[in-house]
């Protein structure tokens, strides 16, 4: 085992003070499911792990006036079991229920999943589709960053070394859905994921839409071209055909061990169609979701 120090932070104030003091050397851990893998692989050496698992203020799912706030330390299990999210943000609920395996879900947190910024992070497309905001703190200040500005590249985010994610906030949207293509069910890192949320007026015209994809670019991405293709329209056959055509402009997939770029280009429009239709409540194909 490589060397690492471990300090448990009892509360947010202590965690921020430790981050301020340790700076470059600090490495925040909650469930440590990312950290331990990187330490064992020799990617993370001689760092001071700051344990924030037990900070109660970072944990929990709150709903007030249409807004949902999820503490950064909330585990994927809590999200996967939340009847509130099942109803008010099914896109995130469905992603949590396909995340790794039940044991990892007990440790892994939503804050950790986005801070790690894997292009395949399962909670990222749902949060992008919900137009979430990330609430970030450092010693003496706080800021909010829109989810679409949060990721910079593979394992890169806007987070500074002394910053901590406090929470993730978004407006509830029951008309939202998630779909994941993996190589198998168990422990599968995604080949492509897609998430969508829509709002319609009483005539069925789409007044608001957000579509996001994972594992098709160096970071989880919003599909702005696809969104443009459907905004203001009715979710009919022509709109869906335009949507599928537009998706290719939003993605830049690569060949990797899990799939070829070509395959990803082929399936991305198909699963975007599925999540869009499901979010609109018109798709007969339920897909592999809970």
């Amino acid at each position: 085992m490589k060397n690492f120090e471990f300090i448990k932070a009892p509360d947010v104030k202590a965690a921020l003070a430790l981050l301020d003091k340790e700076k470059d050397n600090a490495y925040l851990v909650a469930g440590s499911t990312n950290a331990m893998v990187d330490i064992r692989a020799g990617k993370v050496n001689d760092r001071t792990l700051i344990g924030i698992r037990d900070i109660e203020a970072l944990s929990g799912i709150k709903f007030s006036r249409g807004k949902i706030t999820i503490g950064a330390g909330t585990t994927i299990s809590e999200i996967a079991e939340s009847s509130l999210l099942a109803k008010k943000a099914p896109v995130l609920f469905q992603a949590a229920n396909q995340f790794a395996d039940p044991t990892t879900r007990n440790s892994a947190t939503i804050g950790g999943n986005i801070a790690n910024a894997s292009p395949a992070a399962d909670t990222a497309p749902p949060l992008l589709a919900l137009k979430a905001e990330v609430v970030i703190a450092k010693k003496g200040s706080k800021r909010r960053v829109a989810m679409e500005d949060f990721f910079l590249g593979v394992n890169k985010t806007v987070l500074e070394k002394d910053e901590l994610i406090l929470a993730i906030e978004f407006s509830a949207n029951p008309h939202s859905a998630f779909y994941k293509v993996g190589l198998r069910n168990a422990m599968a890192i995604s080949v492509v994921t897609a998430a969508a949320s829509v709002r319609k007026d009483k005539d069925g015209n789409i007044t608001d839409v957000a579509i996001a994809l994972g594992s098709v670019a160096p970071k989880p991405v919003r599909a702005f071209n696809a969104e443009k293709a459907v905004l203001g329209k009715k979710a009919d056959e022509k709109t869906i055909a335009d949507l599928m055509k537009a998706v290719s402009k939003d993605i830049s997939p690569i060949d990797d061990v899990r799939a070829s770029a070509e395959y990803r280009k082929d399936i991305a429009p198909v699963i975007v169609k599925r999540v869009f239709c499901k979010a609109c409540g018109i798709c007969p194909n339920e897909g592999r979701t809970k």
């Binding site: 471990f6 331990m36 344990g51 039940p102 440790s107």
Partner: protein, 159 residues
């Protein structure tokens, strides 16, 4: 390397230990408490052989720095039986011949125990989905899934 005093409650027994900051819970259980039922398989949360319970929830002991487990109430595979009486999952694994080489079985049994505490009446799909983080390379999944369903029905009968 700093040292830390921690308390672990393992299988109903309280242990006061001094651990290095880079020690993992799995190593403490195996090398200090000699509870070698939990296995070191992959070390990267892929295989499930090190699964333990914290209260009623499953955790991979290879992912947890021992310091982070200070105060935890832990059950390892050694703590599942009540004296000589095996827990329903353990008994069902024997009754259904679900053990081949046996390396994955402690993790399988512990995860299955967490499964039945969460959902005492699972169907086959639920069991398969729940055990997705536990790998058996022999491979005896069919008998294992059957065992968990068997344990569930025996527990229901016993009520």
């Amino acid at each position: 390397m700093s040292k830390h005093d921690i308390t672990l409650n393992v299988n109903g027994k309280k242990y006061e230990l001094t651990v290095n900051s880079n020690e993992l819970l799995l190593n403490v259980l195996r090398d200090k408490l000699f509870l070698t039922g939990s296995k070191y398989g992959c070390g990267i949360a892929e295989c499930g052989a090190c699964t333990i319970l914290k209260d009623d929830e499953s955790y991979f002991a290879c992912m947890v720095p021992a310091v982070a487990a200070d105060g935890w109430n832990i059950t390892t595979v050694e703590g599942l039986a009540d004296g000589d009486k095996l827990n329903p999952v353990q008994q069902a694994f024997i009754d259904n011949s679900a053990i081949q080489c046996g390396f994955c079985v402690p993790g399988m049994v512990v995860t299955s125990t967490a499964l039945l505490r969460e959902n005492p009446d699972p169907d086959e799909d639920f069991v398969k989905d729940y055990l997705r983080g536990n790998f058996c390379r022999c491979t005896g999944y069919v008998a294992m899934v059957k065992s968990v369903l068997d344990a569930a029905s025996k527990m229901k009968e016993a009520k």
